[in-house]
């Protein structure tokens, strides 16, 4: 059976520019009912009808889970990306009807934690907006360390400072402010859980330092949706459905498979949930694996690929789809 999510028919109720790079979008249900409750850290997949193309991008829900009259997401414009964020910034206007998925949480709080220590980098702040709202309402113990390039690009830094005061600590790259990570990780009370969301480099740095300093891996949580990277076009044969397709430069393999009318299951479209894992029947060339799901051994084996984020360069590729 398919493990995809149910869809929600929504209308864009507001579009709010937050700073030079980030715009916030508000969605309400078209039938006027409440949206499904969600938990801090959840994302939705937003469907974008961009001419002939359907883009499906995941975005963290950043509103309070206690208020389900609307969902809010914040989208950082990526001028050199594949175009999803540009579509949101340029084409999505209040009143527009759109479809989003039910919420899915792949970055859940561990509710056993005595303290939640959160590290955010840039637009990685969005899941923490919802998580801090959830924890604050329950009297939860959290502390947020937020790194941004400049004060003017510190998306929601002002809101967070106002809401949570000294529980939020800001670091500005242009002022050469840095998280003193080793000191921070060495001085936490027992029972603390660590959460990190931001650029890959930051996540790797934090995980690496936490491991070196003896944090058990089950207390370190991270969310990294890899956006699909553009690359050279390649051809793929889908053995089960008997189709041969071309994956364009700006298209992900998953999108090309969907465009051919084949619908593999998916949840995150960012290489973490494992749903779209696909068996390779044969290949002549090399894989460019960008996911966080398959093990290194599986990557080396050439027998599996995550079509949401990974690509292929070579003469032929046959997949079990």
């Amino acid at each position: 059976m398919s493990t995809g999510t149910t869809k929600l028919d929504v209308v864009v109720s507001d579009v709010v520019p937050v700073n030079d790079l980030v715009t916030r979008f508000h969605f309400r249900r078209r039938d006027g009912e409440l949206l499904p409750t969600f938990s801090g850290g959840a994302h939705v997949v937003v469907e974008m009808r961009d001419g002939e193309r359907t883009r499906l991008n995941p975005y963290s829900l950043m509103g309070s889970p206690l208020d389900t009259r609307e969902y809010t997401i914040s989208v950082r414009r990526d001028d050199v990306g594949r175009g999803g964020s540009l579509f949101m910034h340029r084409n999505v206007k209040p009143g527009m009807e759109m479809v989003v998925s039910y919420p899915v949480n792949l970055f859940s709080l561990d509710l056993r934690a005595k303290k939640h220590l959160m590290l955010a980098g840039g637009i990685g702040i969005t899941p923490f907006m919802a998580q801090t709202a959830q924890l604050a309402a329950e009297g939860g113990n959290f502390e947020l360390h937020y790194t941004c390039r400049t004060a003017s690009l510190g998306t929601y830094a002002d809101v967070l400072r106002e809401r949570y005061d000294r529980r939020v600590r800001l670091y500005h790259d242009d002022l050469d402010e840095r998280i003193e990570l080793d000191r921070l990780l060495s001085t936490q009370p027992l029972g603390t859980h660590l959460y990190v969301c931001g650029p890959a480099g930051m996540i790797n740095w934090v995980r690496d330092r936490a491991a070196s300093l003896g944090w058990p891996s089950e207390t370190v949580h991270f969310e990294h949706f890899a956006a699909p990277q553009p690359g050279l076009p390649f051809d793929v044969t889908l053995a089960v459905s008997g189709k041969t397709i071309r994956v364009d430069e700006q298209q992900s393999l998953l999108e090309a498979i969907e465009a051919a009318g084949v619908d593999p299951p998916y949840l995150c479209r960012g290489g973490v949930c494992g749903q779209c894992e696909t068996n390779v029947i044969s290949c002549d060339g090399k894989f460019i694996h960008n996911d966080h799901w398959l093990s290194e051994e599986e990557h080396r084996s050439g027998k599996k690929i995550m079509p949401c984020v990974s690509r292929f360069e070579g003469r032929s590729l046959v997949l079990e789809r």
């Binding site: 059976m1 493990t3 995809g4 999510t5 149910t6 499904p36 409750t37 969600f38 938990s39 850290g41 959840a42 889970p65 039910y102 919420p103 899915v104 949480n105 859940s108 709080l109 561990d110 509710l111 056993r112 959830q134 329950e138 089950e218 949840l267 949930c273 494992g274 749903q275």
Partner: protein
């Protein structure tokens, strides 16, 4: 037209019976003449009118008596209901789910009114009319999970999801087929399934866990499980084994029809929205052989399944002691003719 709730017992004089309508709606678990484990999971969607799937949370004629039996079990042994400290939020999720589903399916018996976080819950069969603040445990007589599961048929396990596994961190378990919440509390999916024979070798639990951790909000799933119980006893717990274990030695060719019950569990799996946990309701249905064989197709199926069951499974399900007596009794109702596939009665 509401349900007529039966006055009956699941202990001592065992007056539990199914009405003729309830016999026909019994969730018979065998669609063919053989049984082996499978990950027989399907979407939990509404089924035909008059079946146990007419509503996603089923309330039937045994509701009031089952809730009374649960109260008796809890009075003797409060550890049948446990919730680790981090599971309170999941308890509220479950309270919302069960109130919504019961009010939706049975408006003549249950009413839920919400005004922000001020909620009013009316449960007419049990004579309850409570107003409380959603999220504020001090406004209910019990914790949210205990409160609502004292008013809902079936056992409930709430599983926390973390580290790629599921953890049995809360539950209300009083109608179980020989397992103990008090023993399993805090265990992960592989730990609490460790005693099940054959299935580990088949890799069933690895696949089942992968499926369950991906259950999505708004898309519950279900499966059926089964065993057999002597006398219509809901509480067949390890804690009370001394009370029911010896019953297995009391089966004779004369009393098979009255004493031996097929016990079917309708298990469903739901993602909880606030806690991101999974709730696993295990709804138990009992039917005595005399009632079951009123449907000749079921009698034939059951005879062939019990006769051909691998010994490991028969042992695990606790049938060994009376299996031959039961098979002999059922064989007289099996004319050997082919049975139609499918779960339904004739």
């Amino acid at each position: 037209m509401g349900i007529t709730f039966r006055k009956e017992t699941f202990r001592d004089d065992f007056t539990f019976r199914n009405s003729p309508e309830h016999i026909r709606r019994f969730p018979f678990p065998f669609h063919e003449d053989a049984y082996m484990y499978a990950v027989n999971i399907e979407p939990h969607v509404v089924g035909p009118k008059g079946s146990v799937l007419e509503n996603l949370i089923d309330v039937d004629e045994h509701y009031v008596a089952e809730m009374q039996d649960r109260a008796l079990v809890l009075a003797e042994d409060p550890l049948r209901c446990q919730s680790l400290p981090h599971m309170t939020l999941a308890g509220w999720d479950l309270l919302e789910l069960l109130m919504e589903q019961q009010a939706l399916g049975y408006p003549e018996h249950f009413t839920l009114t919400r005004d922000g976080d001020r909620w009013r819950w009316i449960n007419r069969p049990l004579g309850i009319d409570d107003t409380f603040t959603f999220g504020d445990t001090s406004t209910l007589p019990y914790g949210p999970m205990e409160y609502i599961t004292r008013q809902s048929q079936g056992d409930f396990c709430i599983l926390d999801q973390r580290d790629g596994n599921l953890w049995m961190d809360a539950g209300m378990v009083t109608t179980q087929a020989d397992w103990s919440l008090d023993f399993d509390i805090g265990m992960n999916f592989f730990e609490w399934h460790a005693p099940v024979p054959l299935a580990h070798e088949k890799g069933i639990f690895v696949r089942a866990l992968k499926f369950l951790t991906n259950i999505q909000q708004g898309k519950p799933a279900r499966r059926l499980n089964w065993t057999m119980t002597i006398n219509p006893r809901l509480d067949t717990s390890p804690e009370n084994y001394h009370k029911w274990g010896p019953d297995r030695a009391t089966v004779t060719p004369e009393n098979v029809g009255d004493k031996v019950h097929l016990r079917v569990e309708l298990q469903s799996f739901w993602r909880l929205p606030r806690s991101n946990g999974i709730v696993f309701p295990i709804r138990c249905y009992l039917i005595k052989m005399d009632e079951l064989v009123t449907q000749p197709k079921w009698a034939r199926h059951l005879h062939r399944v019990i006769r051909d069951l691998p010994d490991e499974l028969a042992n695990y399900k606790g049938l060994t002691r009376y299996r031959s007596t039961l098979v002999e009794w059922l064989s007289k109702l099996d004319d050997g003719s082919p049975t139609n596939p499918g779960f339904g009665p004739d």
